[in-house]
């Protein structure tokens, strides 16, 4: 009965309220069918790939955890080698934050440096959700995960979230942008811009996870909105290294975004006032840096 042709089919096994399929379908709505998709190991691969019950309506390959970017580059090279990619098929590689920030970082850097004709999309849910919410280097400061729990000697994750979009930009590629699930028009527009690039582009999408962050499933999109408005996830765009767009926020204190998530609920306690201040400082620095 669905009227539009979604390229990530229904019947996938994502948890109820997962925002990743929302992002993927929006990306594929922009690319259309003339695309080859590569996904790294992670939630997206797992919930879409049961043999004979695949959700992908496009050619799709899932290689390993750490090589989606390199495999995507190989796909693009094959298209180019065969007929100069005369049909202008796009290659989109999806990786989660674990794959992008951590284990697949080297292969991603190589792909960006070579400027391979691949749109790399990081869907960022800020931890290893597929294996049960372990900490990645995309996990924000003070968040608890199953491997950065809060305890007598710990307030949760002790490191700041790595700044992947800036690292991608430093490779000198034409197009780098961030987006959040809470603004799909903006996301689609950015995918379209990435498609116009001949060479590598990097898109980073905030996709909240109700299981890993600890909030009711119906709040999944709202949680992205709150995170963005708190200044904790800047929505920006770099074209040829220049900051060409910044999404203005309706500023809220970080508590308004944090206290509705179980992973930050310990920060309500007085003993963690210092950490809460640090999170606000991160948000303030983002707001100042990008003029959010």
């Amino acid at each position: 009965m669905t009227e539009k042709k979604n390229l990530l089919a229904s019947g996938h096994k994502a948890c109820p309220g997962c925002t990743v399929p929302i992002a993927v379908n929006k990306v594929l709505e922009a690319t259309g069918k003339n695309v080859i998709v590569v996904t790294a190991t992670g939630c997206l691969e797992t919930f879409t790939s049961l043999i004979d019950f695949s959700s992908w309506e496009v050619p799709w390959i899932t290689p390993l955890f750490e090589n989606a970017a390199a495999v995507g580059a190989g796909v693009a090279a094959a298209l180019e080698a065969k007929d100069g990619n005369e049909r202008d098929t796009k290659v989109v590689a999806f990786g989660g934050d674990g794959s992008t920030y951590d284990i697949g970082f080297g292969a991603l850097s190589g792909m960006l440096e070579r400027n391979d004709n691949v749109i790399y999309v990081c869907y960022d849910n800020e931890a290893y959700m597929n294996t049960g919410v372990q900490r990645s280097s995309g996990t924000p400061f003070a968040a608890t995960t199953t491997t950065s729990p809060c305890g007598e000697a710990s307030f949760g994750n002790i490191k700041y979230k790595k700044n992947m979009p800036e690292i991608a930009r430093a490779h000198g590629i034409h197009y780098v942008a961030t987006a959040a699930i809470s603004d799909l028009k903006d996301l689609k527009k950015k995918v379209e811009k990435a498609m116009a690039v001949k060479g590598a582009s990097y898109l980073h999408i905030l996709t909240p996870c109700n299981v890993g962050w600890g909030f009711p499933s119906e709040k999944s999109v709202e949680m992205a909105r709150l995170t963005v408005n708190a200044g904790l996830f800047p929505i920006i765009e770099y074209t040829d290294g220049e900051l060409t767009a910044v999404k203005k926020i309706k500023k809220i204190p970080v508590e308004d975004a944090l206290f509705v998530q179980k992973r930050f609920k310990h920060l309500k306690k007085d003993e963690y006032a210092q950490q809460l201040k640090q999170v606000q400082a991160i948000a303030d620095a983002n707001i100042a840096r990008y003029g959010l």
Partner: protein, 82 residues
């Protein structure tokens, strides 16, 4: 049926999966309130929503009952029921 060479399969087989059985709460649409903005269509993780001339229709074969549609509906036209 013999397995494919290399563990490949063809696209879109997941449409046979009845993920509606996962549902714990179900969306109920008040068509009188629906403004046909299609925000729910975009935000349904399971692509279970379509909007026709009457308004928003939810395919309960796929709907997992997450409630995002209800939360995001600007017209308050969808409520969740146990």
């Amino acid at each position: 049926m013999k397995l494919s060479v290399g563990g490949t399969c063809f696209a879109g087989g997941s449409k046979a999966n009845n993920t509606g059985v996962w549902r714990q709460t179900a969306p109920v649409v008040d068509l009188a309130k629906c403004v046909k903005c299609k925000i729910c269509v975009d935000y349904c993780p399971d692509c279970a929503i379509a909007v026709d001339e009457e308004g928003c229709k939810i395919d309960m074969f796929y709907c997992k009952g997450c409630g995002i549609c209800s939360n995001e509906c600007p017209a308050g036209a969808i409520r969740m029921e146990v």
